[in-house]
Amino acid sequence: MKVDEFEFFLEKDWSDGFPVVTPTEERVQWMLTGTRRNSDEVVGNIPPAGELATVRTVAIHALMAGCKPEYLPVVLGGISLMLREELNLGGVQCTMHGVAPLMIVNGPYADKIGLRGGNGCFGPGFRANATIGRAIRLMLMNLGGGLAGIASATVFASPIRYTACLTEHVAQSPWESLAASRGHAPGANVITCAMVESPRLHFDDVSTEPERLLTGIGDAMTAPGSWNMWFNSDMVVAMSPQHAKLCAGSGMTRAKAVERLVDLAVRKQGQLRRGGNWRPERARAMGIDPDDDESLIRAVKDPQRLHLIVAGGLGPVTAVCHGWNESSHFVHGTYEV
């Protein structure tokens, strides 16, 4: 009987539930033209199952996900970065939470391959964004065993686990890129990766000055039930160009906007203990008296861990992605193109 390869892959749990491009040897060789690296070169073991990723296995998954060969360097760079110990990929693969490693890709190569930073950049509809993030996910499943009901105890997962890759809207940004703000050269190709939830959209078509705008965004960064309130973890805030320009137009630098958001993303303990994940032990661990309702709890404990980017299209919206817990620390670095 003739095997239908689409059905075969779906029945094998070798996909995310969508059909994959069938990895034939010919197609894998085509994908490998996207890198100068040797196909046998070891990339690392994907936790928790610990299966080996080589340049060739990364290429197989990039192909299955629908990548073009020129996307392969970003997939290779991304998965290598995610294996750094401080990101704790193994923990995220197993957690009850639903966060995913969001890749923020800066530099000229992102633009060259058509990564989207403008309207609709969280997807769907853009091949580079959709398939680079999907390639990562397929590896986390096929090589890492991060499957719900097997290694993953995720309660809901989330749509951001299908793909999580974007760039900044450089042409419309009033500020230097996220990578440049961390000291990378303006022409460097850099990936920043942090474990975050799907974006929550914050609309503000009213504010005409930064303080009101940032007060509202700061509130969206706080919530009972968010782990950011109780742990020193990461958060991504993607301002639309319109919102970023409102700040920059008042002379606010990126660093100043981050500083102000850190101060405004705060709630009184009394509000947080009415619901969610408040516990006296968690307050004490932060050096806060659990009985003091007036104590202020910041969503961002370390300004370096607030990843403020400018992305999205025209319109008065900011996307806020809450983070995971303190066992994961964001990573960033250049990748080879």
Partner: protein
């Protein structure tokens, strides 16, 4: 398997070795029991209480509790090896 098919098994190379489960004990009398505290809040309280009950009601000789660095991190191999040497029964215990 995919070897006979005109396409590549993306998981090829996966180690197929399986480890047989250790025989389950009939009872716990006289056994040394190991537990891993995952560091979640009150895990230590819960596990200590369970340990007391295992000793008083089930005749467990001793309960050894190891504490992980963080609940979201894997237990280090050294900790698992040490437990394997010390105990006859181990429980992957959780708190929180």
């Amino acid at each position: 398997m995919a070897r006979d098919l005109p396409f590549i098994d993306p998981t090829a190379g996966r180690s197929r070795s399986r480890i047989a489960l250790a025989p389950r004990p009939i009872d716990l009398a006289g056994k040394v029991v190991g537990m891993i505290d995952n560091t979640k809040e009150q895990a230590d309280v819960i596990l200590k209480t369970v340990a007391e009950v295992l000793e008083s009601r089930y005749g467990v000789a001793r309960v050894i509790i190891h504490r992980k660095e963080h609940y979201s991190k894997l237990a280090p191999h050294a900790m698992i090896d040490e437990l394997a040497k010390e105990v006859q029964v181990a429980v992957a215990a959780l708190g929180g």
